[in-house]
Every structure is written in C-alpha cells, then in structure tokens.
C-alpha cells in the first residue's frame, strides 16, 4: 500500500512537471515553424549573423526577450509582428521548449581581430575595469560565461557581428529590457572600441563541452536588473 501510494505521488509529480515544461500540445515543435524557419531547425542557427541561436538558452531569458519584442522594448519588425497576438502563457511555453533543447555547438570562427584587441576584450570580460567601475561580464553571466538560470543568457556560441550589434543597440537605447535596465546601463559605459573587443573575444571562445547555464550567479549581482529575479 505504502509503495503504491509513493508510486502514485511520483507519477503525479512527473506528470505535473511534464505539463509544466512541455505545455499542453504534443506537437509544439510543429506549431513553432514560424520560429525555426529563421532560427534554424530546432532553434539552432546555421551561419546567420543576425539570427541568434535560441536552443538551450535559459528559459527566463528567452521569455523576457519574447515579451520585449511583443511589447516594444526591443525593436525588430519581423519579431514584433509575429508575437502580437500571443499570450504571456504561450510565450512562456515557447521559451521553455527552446530552452530544453540540448544540441552541439559548432567550433568558433577564427577571430578577425588583432591580438591587442582580443586581450582588451578578454580583460573586460573576465576582470572588468575597476578604474572605470566596469564589472566583469563573468560576474553576472557566470564564470564559464554560459549564463545563469533562469534569466541571464550565456555569451558564447554567438557570432561577433551579432554580439557587437546587440551591445551597440543597448548603448543606443534601441534594445531595452524591463526596468531597471542593467544591460542598458552597462553598455552605455562602454566605448565602441570596448564593444568590438568584447564581441571579438567572446566569439572566438569554444563552448566548454556539456556546458549549461549555472544554477546561481557566482556572487551578488553588481547591478539591479528588472528581468532577473534577485
């Protein structure tokens, strides 16, 4: 009897987990053809500089970006148009689905930047610049730079052009997040040279094998971020 009830509890827990993570529809991937047409099969982009890979990114991060596109904090006409008639609940399901995909990363492209630029990038990413009150990227995005669940994205496996375009957009106020917008603040204290160097170094790093977003940040976050539970 005891064993039976324990089995039932376990089964119920499994069921509720399943319904949480995979939503209601068994054919969710079929329903999301509008996403994968551009972001690649299973959300993994093949070689497109401005179409980032979405597979395996933290669910909270993906969800925040879907909200940002739908609600006008990020501007991309194609994304906004697609998301207009979708509910928060569905956006959460979509984010959860793509976050669970675990697919191999291609090796990084050979860097086009010179050694000095790469060194400058590496310094900013791993150690920041105390004199300019710049925290290291790794302080929030995790020491292996693979992100922190649930809402801080990894910084590896993305093309340099995409990374510098995003940092540039944050700096120009064209990409925004829920207030307080910590990345907006960060990017505004970077120069274009900083941005290019950071993007070049990050894009040249291989993805550590079996890497996942960390469960928690290495320490307290140096800034307050509206989209990140703290």
């Amino acid at each position: 009897m005891m064993r039976y009830s324990r089995f039932l509890t376990a089964a119920a827990a499994t069921l509720s987990l399943l319904s949480l993570s995979s939503g209601k529809a068994a054919d969710l991937p079929d329903r999301l053809a509008a996403c994968t047409a551009c972001h690649g099969k299973e959300g993994r982009t093949i070689n497109a500089e401005y179409l980032p890979r979405i597979a395996g990114k933290p669910a909270g991060y993906l969800y925040n970006q879907l909200l940002n596109f739908r609600d006008g904090r990020r501007t991309n006409a194609a994304m906004s148009h697609l998301l207009q008639p979708l509910s928060d609940a569905y956006l959460r399901d979509i984010a959860a689905y793509f976050s669970t995909l675990d697919l191999p990363y291609p090796p990084p492209a050979a860097p086009k930047a010179g050694a000095d630029e790469l060194r400058h990038g590496e310094t900013l990413v791993l150690r920041g610049d105390a004199a300019r009150k710049l925290p290291a990227c790794a302080q929030c995005h995790g020491t292996p730079l693979t992100g922190v669940a649930p809402a801080i994205p990894g910084l590896l496996g993305l093309p340099a052009a995409y990374m510098s375009a995003q940092l540039g957009a944050w700096r120009a106020g064209q990409r925004r997040a829920q207030a307080p917008d910590c990345m907006g603040e960060m990017a505004k204290s970077l120069t274009q040279t900083d941005i290019n160097a950071v993007a070049a170094w990050l894009a040249a790093q291989p993805m550590p094998p079996g890497s996942k977003p960390m469960a928690a940040a290495p320490g307290p976050l140096p800034l307050k971020c509206g989209g990140v539970p703290q």
Partner: protein, 438 residues
C-alpha cells in the same frame, strides 16, 4: 438687371452667413461639462459590465501603448491625414478622465466632443460609438474610473497635415459626414433580437466598419459600401469585404462556425491573421456566447453584393512560363507541402487548406503577400492557447521564386486565379523593408 444682381448677391450673403453660423456653432457652440454637477454612483456589477464592454469595443487597442500602462493613451493612429494620438483614459485627474462626468464621457462617444466641447477627430471611431447606449457608456465609464489605475501621462498633440489640422476642416467634415445617432428610433424590438443585438455590436461598439468599410478621399464611409472591404491606411493589410462571396462574406457559413471564429480566430474555413488576429486576441475572444451568436447572426444576414463562391475549376490555368511553373511546384514541395499538404488540402485544426482559400484567390492580393512575407500566428485564445504559426518567407525566398510559388498555389488543385508578377510583390516587400529599418 441691377435688381437681379442685388437679389443674387443678397442670397449669396445669406447663404454664406448661414453656413458660417452653422460652422461656428459646430466649432464653439458646445459647453464644458463639469463633473461636480453630476454625482455618479457605480455598482460592482456595472463595473464588471463596463470591463466586458471596453474589451468588446477594444478601447485598449488604441488607448494602450504596446507594453505600456493600460489605457494611458499615447498610441499613434497613422492616417493618410497625419498622426492622431490616443488620449489618456485612466482616472488621473490632471491628464486623464478623472475630472470627466459620466455625461461628458457619453457626449464623447455619442457626439465626438471632448469634456470642454471641443470636436474630436474621427480616428476615434465616434461615428460608430454614437450608437452606444447611455447605459453601456455609463458602465464603461464606471470601469475606467473605478478599476483602471490612474496614470499621469500628458496627452500627445496630434500632428495632422494642413488643412486637416484646422477646426474649420473638422467642423466641415462633421457637418458633411457625421450625425449623432437617434437611438430611440432604432429601438424597436423586432422578432429577431439576436440580429438587433448583433447590429448594435457590429455597427457600434465593435466598430467593424472602421476597417471593413470603404472610405472616400476624406476618410468618411462611402454611402452604399458598408463592409465592402478597404485597405488599412498605411500598413498594407486589406480588411476584406464582409459582403463579397469571394472575400469574407459569411452568408453561407453555419452560424456556429461564425461565432466560434469570432471567439478563436480559427475555423475550418479560415484563420485570422495580421490586424484581425490582434482584434481576436485583444477583443472578440472575450465575447459571451450570446453576443458572439448575435454578431454572427448579423454578419451572416449582411446582403451579398458581389463575388461568387469557390468552385474547383476543371481546367488548369497557365501560371506563366513552364519553367516558372516547375520552379513553383518544386518550391511548394520544399517549403509548404509538409504543413499545407501535397494537394493544398491543409489539416483540420492546424494548417488552412489552400484549395479554395479566399486569401489565396481574392482579387486584392495584399493579405496573401503579407502572410507569405511576414508570416504570423493565429491568435492565442482560451480554447486555442498554443496556436500554429506560418513562417515568414521575407528572408528565405527571392522575388522570382516567391511569385512562382504563389502562382503555383493559385493555379493548382482547382484553384484558378490570374498569375501574379514580381511587380505585384515589390510594393509589399518595399513596405516591409521600410518597416524593418524603424
């Protein structure tokens, strides 16, 4: 001879004076309505009712900026005459409607005037809302005043082009094209109460004609063309005719299908996309079953003015040069067949059939191009919480290929619509290119 001239001159002066007087009265002859003079008690049932009605009227569709505070206004309505910005409807006293009385609110809906008597621009659809009853107006007012969070946001000034920015132009427009509804004369209860309720919703509160009716050059409804379809100003979508069999008439749909479509945006006969998907998402999905049936009853009974229902064509039509036809068929297999089926048959509940599909075949090809270039999702609703989406092909297909593909679809499996050219496509692709840089 001289006497004739004097009489003529006298008549002219008289006519000018008459018109001037009428215009002046239209512009300045309406007083401020003060809130203090009219105390208003709201019941919670009334506030609930008002919340429902505000949804069916989709007030938030214009009065809420994307991602912004509910009803705080500021969203732009682009018109061919310039930009009009929706006002702040929150109960903030300084910048919203906190100092408005229920009477002033009703006058805005019914007569298109602000609290101080100033004329409002008809981008605010008071030519439709004039039909809203005082009772419903009071309920919406009660909801806005008592349940919406006050937000301090000063209204954005409209930026209309000359001469549309002058009150003389607006007064003239109103005298020519607007007459407040006489609700009493319309109040007779015929046998079909559902039809009457539907007429009230479609013509008034839900203001379907604001998009679906043809307008003249001054943006006024064209007499005799109610619900006859219209291009949406400046966004390249077409609000199809609700009275044409080959567009969006529902005269031959079962009543239940129409009601369900309003509540979900999907049916075996078609899916809501683009602006209509947003309307279903924000507004019509909340229709009560009775109101959905009432709107369906009215829409089904609209007179059919043109077009013929689809019949599969026995002969194949030429879709251009043979090489292009082969290319179209090849692209269809590669990009479309896995969802829409090898013979355009679609899959019930998921992907629309392309055979006999009115968006595919209709004379106005705006929506066909928009759907294929921009893709889209059906609206997420309570009964369809995870809708299917159509991928955007803007980045994926070149102009020639896209046209070959569409011509294949328009001329296969019994479809027989005329061939399209890349020139037809260009306008829509350019429109999206402009949008993408914003």
């Amino acid at each position: 001879m001289k006497r004739w001239l004097a009489v003529l001159l006298g008549l002219a002066v008289f006519a000018i004076a008459g018109v001037s007087f009428t215009l002046m009265r239209e512009m300045y002859g309406h007083a401020l309505i003060d809130r203090k003079s009219a105390p208003f008690e709201a019941t919670s049932a009334q506030i609930d009712r008002g919340e429902y009605l505000a949804r069916i009227g989709n007030c938030a569709g214009c009065h809420t900026v994307r991602g912004g505070d509910a009803f705080a206004g500021g969203r732009v309505v682009d018109t061919p005459f310039g930009a009009v910005y929706a006002g702040n409807l929150t109960p903030d006293r300084a910048t919203g409607i906190g100092d408005w009385s229920a009477g002033a609110f009703y006058r805005a809906l019914h007569d298109g005037r602000s609290r101080d008597g100033r004329m409002l621009y008809p981008a605010f659809p008071y030519p439709n809302f004039t039909q809203i009853t005082r009772e419903d107006s009071d309920a919406i007012y009660a909801y806005l005043i008592h349940r919406v969070k006050p937000v301090h946001r000063i209204n954005t000034a409209h930026t209309l082009k000359f001469p549309y920015d002058s009150s003389l132009a607006l007064a003239t427009w109103r005298l020519l094209y607007f007459k407040p509804a006489d609700q009493k004369s319309d109040d007779k209860q015929s046998a079909d109460t559902a039809w009457h309720r539907g007429a009230y919703l479609v013509q008034g509160l839900a203001h379907c004609g604001a998009c679906h009716s043809t307008r003249n050059a001054l943006g006024a409804p064209l007499a005799g063309h109610a619900y006859d379809g219209a291009m949406m100003p400046l966004n390249d979508w077409y609000a199809p005719s609700l009275t044409a069999r080959d567009e969006a008439s529902v005269a031959d749909w079962p009543l239940e299908d129409i009601a369900r479509w309003l509540q979900t945006g999907t049916s075996l006969r078609g899916t809501a996309f683009g602006p209509m998907a947003e309307i279903v998402f924000q507004s019509t999905q909340y229709l009560s079953d009775d109101d959905a049936r009432a709107m369906a009853t009215y829409l089904k009974a609209l007179p059919v003015t043109r077009g013929v229902a689809f019949k599969p064509s026995p002969k194949t039509v030429s879709s251009g040069r043979a090489a292009a036809a082969d290319r179209g068929s090849e692209l269809y297999k590669e990009h479309c067949a896995s969802c829409h089926g090898d013979a355009g048959e679609g899959k019930a509940g998921a992907w629309p059939a392309l055979v006999g599909n009115r968006t595919v075949l209709m004379g106005n090809t705006a929506n066909l191009f928009r759907v294929v270039l921009s893709g889209g999702f059906a609206p997420a609703t309570a009964s369809n919480p995870q809708p299917y989406g159509m991928p955007p092909f803007y980045h994926l297909l070149k102009d020639d290929d896209l046209v070959a593909l569409l011509n294949h679809v328009r001329s296969s499996w019994g479809n027989a619509a005329p061939a399209l050219t890349t020139l037809d496509l260009l306008h829509y692709r350019d429109g999206l290119r402009t949008a993408a840089t914003h």
